[in-house]
Amino acid sequence: MKNKRHDIVWLFSCFFALLMIAGCDNTIDGFDEDGGVGGFSVYGALDYSKDVHFIRVQDLSAPLLADSVAELDVEVSLTNVDAGITETLPDSVIVFDDIATHNFRTTMDITPQTTYRLKVEDDEGFTQNFEAITPADAEVIVSPTGEYTCNTVIRITFDPVQSDELVQGKFLFSFRGADITVEADVEQNNGVARIIFQPKDIVARGIGNAFECGLDVSAFVLKYTHIGPGFEEILNDFEGLGTEQFVGLFQDNITFSFSQSQ
């Protein structure tokens, strides 16, 4: 009987000891290293119309807390793949609401139809590469030329624009003190892109019909962007949840003035 009692005590002791041992590993791995998006996010554009460019690099495993993002121990370099020129980029820290952002600056000469590679390497040797190709130097043709009315059909052609490139446009104007933005409709086929519009339609889309074209709004700006190959794939990466927007592009503005419709 006494032995039996000892057996039970021993059994329970072993049981609890096993549970305690099983409970020794008390760590939590809250970050999914295999998430698939890589170690860094990169946001920035290489615009061959500009002289200075900033590329933001972030550590994807660092929570968006002041302490976590204050330092970014990486080396960032930009290579013109076609010319074989490499430049190490300095970090410019810009703080938004206590959150430090690391924006790497380059003055490298950016040219059309050129491949650039951005390399991010951390202090443990982990490397991640990003590639951006600038678009062709497209000719922008506006027709007709001269003076416009609200009813004038204006046609803007960008030539050439390859099928894997993208042209985006926005009309910007002021109406009674408010800044209005209207997305431009871009047709893209046969190696060219076109934006065709009538000023009255653009104004109507921005503010509705309660306006007098040419009087309330007599001018607007078309801000267009010609983006290099592969940008659409980047936007659709990870169901739109991608963390890379490193692109080559060209941006410019065209101003239109118009009188009242007849």
């Binding site: 008390n26 990870f238 927007q245």
Partner: protein
């Protein structure tokens, strides 16, 4: 079925069985009815047990339809002298016996089987919790609390030590129903999970139905916690005041009219925010709670009534590092009467009252969100004999008012105010087929403003093999519906804010099917083994959709939830030693119905194990009385619960419209597949030593010292994915509490 059964009983038998003995067990010291007292109907000559039962929460038990002859009645309860009376019944009469049991003076070495045994059948899924059970759990206050006890149950999961959320055998808090004296109270559990609105001293009995409950309970799809408060002392005035690092409390009670009318008033207020920096060095206990309970009771020869009012308030942060300020309040006012006069065959119970609940969430820079629910209710229960068969029946009417101000928190739920009428009725019958087999069959129905009437069959059976009363095999089956739901963001453990809403006619009522099979055996007078396996299949559960990005707005959908598992509990009780060992296995999985439960990149999420899916839980309680000291220890072990990993923190800069130097970008936390990882295991040892010092016959002080988490383990409460922060439960927390009592 019930009608069919009625024809089985012969008219001859009915003619002989037409008298009733109604026993009311009353404690001799304070005049309060004794719940759970054993009542035996004996042959006065041979001493043979003819029938047996246990008193209900009003201290009442009756032998109905018995032969006209002489009987001996024996009433016993632990700690009281046995009451015996011989009487002769008369045809077509109901005899009432008020059995006043004097307090037993000498100490008990071993509980006699007859004292300990509760002669019950078909109790699968039910845990009857007494004040003594609650007092054995180390709690950082003098006495104990229901919340601390419940968390040790192998089938109950709490997601940490804050938030007041209890998951019972796979069911969520909103699928459970808590009743206090028959009145619904939505969330009586405090923000510190050690405490509820039910301190040990206020409790008469608690019936925890972890599933498979009978037709008398409705409008819940998982579990019932039925709390019965005790009346105030009917014989003398008494009071107490206590302080501890967690809370301060007071209690006064006494007779308005000796043996007939009494009152009780008690209140508690948390002190943890003030004491925590001194006791544990933790300055993060940013929580506050209080509760006030008032009670007036009146009991007569053939009736008893009580009026009860409860107010609870909780506020604070679950995660001190986050900006979520949470609060919830309950207000319950109502009364219950039970009439059991000689002119009626069975007691009539009526409950009426008002219950209000409000919870809210606020965060810096965001608008407050709140959701409230009020109801006025009337409930009636009775039993009538139909063709000689006693049929329990009852109905309930609820007038509900739901309000929510959501500040666009949920995409498909706008701020709303809705009124509902809910009518519920049930009928059931306990049929003793033989000495070995008892069946309980019933059906409940629920009709609401927006939905067709439900039909909810319930079935319970208990079988004693070979007529042995120390072994019982029992089972329960049932279908359950619920007229409302509560929706929260399940991935945000930093908030327990829930939107309560009625189910309108565009959606199916949430429902569940339960099946439980139990085996219990008593070994001698000291050891009890209880094993139960269960399946709960929930339908049309409202859940929030889980997507890779955390957004302010939450979309909702419906899911099927399958929960199954088993609980084993072994209890050893031989005065002065008590040991409880419990093990619970559970598995809960949510599956998409017509829609998906969210998405992870290109794949829809069609199933996941929710945050309360804990596979293994072990619980042990040891209590030992050494001289004037009572020592208690509880050790708990729980396997890790699911959580969701993060695969990226990001500030999205929308190129080419935004630029890195002028635009901050949009903050994003990108979540991996929902609940795909598990937290580490949890274990904790709590201990306490208590001693009472009696200075005069009318004044005593109780001193209790102990510690929560005595080996200071870092037990994770939850993982805050937004900042990769591990939030731990209570670290080592030593305490001393002092209670002064007078009478």
């Amino acid at each position: 079925m019930i009608v069919l059964c009625s024809f089985i009983v012969s008219p001859e038998a009915l003619a002989q069985q037409n008298s009733t003995i109604r026993v009311i067990a009353i404690a001799g010291d304070d005049g309060i009815p004794i719940a759970g007292a054993n009542v035996l109907l004996l042959d006065p000559e041979s001493g043979e047990i003819l029938d047996a039962g246990a008193t209900n929460n009003d201290g009442l038990f009756q032998f109905s339809g018995i032969d006209v002859r002489e009987y001996r009645i024996k009433v016993s309860f632990i700690g009281y002298e046995t009451y015996e009376q011989t009487l002769t019944t008369e045809a077509n009469t109901n005899k009432i016996i008020q059995a006043r049991l004097p307090v037993k003076v000498e100490a008990l070495d071993e509980l006699v089987v007859e004292d300990k045994r509760e002669v019950t059948t078909g109790q699968v899924g039910l845990r009857q919790i007494s004040r003594q059970d609650i007092s054995r759990v180390p709690t950082p206050i003098a006495g104990g609390d229901l919340a601390s006890y419940l968390q040790g149950d192998p089938g109950i999961i709490s997601t940490g030590d804050r938030g007041g959320e209890l998951y019972i055998r796979g069911g969520t808090p909103s699928q459970n129903k808590v009743l206090v004296d028959g009145m619904p109270i939505v969330k009586p559990f405090h923000i510190s999970n050690f405490f509820s609105a039910f301190p040990q001293k206020a409790i008469q009995t608690v019936d925890l139905y972890a599933g498979g409950f009978g037709a008398e309970y409705s409008d819940a799809t998982s579990a019932i916690i039925d709390v019965n408060l005790r009346p105030g002392n009917f014989r003398q005035y008494s009071g107490s005041g206590s302080v501890s690092p967690y809370l301060a409390s007071f209690q006064v009670e006494g007779p308005f009219q000796t043996n007939h009318q009494s009152f009780m008033l008690m209140g508690r207020k948390s002190t943890i925010s003030e004491s925590s920096p001194f006791v544990s060095g933790d300055d993060g206990s940013d929580i506050d709670f209080y509760d006030i309970t008032g009670r007036y009771s009146v009991q007569g020869y053939n009736f008893n009534c009580s009026m009860t009012g409860i107010i609870t308030h909780d506020s604070g942060k679950i995660n001190p590092a986050r900006d979520f300020d949470l609060s919830w309040q309950n207000t319950v006012v109502g009364g219950r009467c039970s009439a059991f006069g000689e002119t009626i065959d069975y007691p009539i119970n009526v409950t009426v009252g008002y219950s209000h609940y409000k919870n809210s969430e606020a965060s810096d820079g965001e608008t407050n969100r709140s959701s409230s629910f009020s109801e006025i209710f009337l409930k009636f229960d009775n039993t009538q004999r139909v063709f000689g068969i006693p049929l329990d029946f009852g109905f309930k009417m609820n007038f509900g008012d739901y309000e929510a101000s959501l500040a666009e928190r949920f995409t498909d739920l706008e701020s709303f105010e809705e009124q509902t009428i809910l009518v519920n009725a049930f009928i059931s019958n306990a049929w003793e087929v033989s000495d070995q087999l008892t069946l309980n069959m019933g059906v409940a129905g629920l009709a609401t403003t927006f939905q067709p009437i439900t039909l909810e069959p319930r079935f319970r059976a208990a079988y004693n093999p070979a007529g042995r009363d120390d072994i019982e095999v029992s089972m329960a089956l049932g279908r359950y519906y619920q007229a409302s739901t509560a929706i929260g963001d399940v991935r945000n453990a930093g908030s327990v804010f829930k939107v309560r809403k009625p189910i309108n006619n565009n959606f199916a009522l949430p429902s569940a099917d339960h099946a439980i099979l139990g085996y219990s055996q008593r070994f001698g007078n000291t050891v009890t083994l209880n094993v139960e396996g269960y399946i709960k299949n929930h339908h049309d559960i409202s859940v929030s959709k889980l997507t890779p990005t955390a957004t302010i707005e939450t979309e909702t959908t419906t899911a099927e939830g399958l929960g199954y598992g088993a609980d084993i509990q072994l209890e050893y009780e031989r005065n002065p030693f008590y040991l409880l060992l419990g093990y619970g296995y559970g598995n809960v999985e949510y599956k998409a119905t017509s829609d998906d439960l969210g998405s992870f990149l290109s794949q829809p999420v069609d199933r996941y194990h929710p945050a309360h899916d804990q596979r293994h839980k072990v619980n042990s309680i040891v209590s030992y009385e050494i001289g004037d000291f009572t020592t208690s220890a509880r050790w708990e072990f729980g396997s890790g619960r699911p959580f969701t990993q993060v695969f990226a923190f990001d500030l999205l800069v929308d190129i080419p419209d935004e630029t890195p130097t002028t635009d901050s970008g949009t903050a994003r936390t990108l979540f991996s597949r929902p609940f795909d990882q598990r937290l580490p295991v949890y274990h904790r040892l709590d201990v306490s030593v208590e001693r009472s010092f009696r200075f005069t016959p009318n004044f005593a002080m109780d001193l209790k010292a102990g510690a929560i988490n005595i080996y200071d383990r870092d037990n994770v409460f939850y993982y805050d994915s937004n900042n990769l922060q591990r939030v731990n439960q209570t670290s080592l927390f030593p305490y001393v509490s002092l209670r002064a009592q007078f009478n």
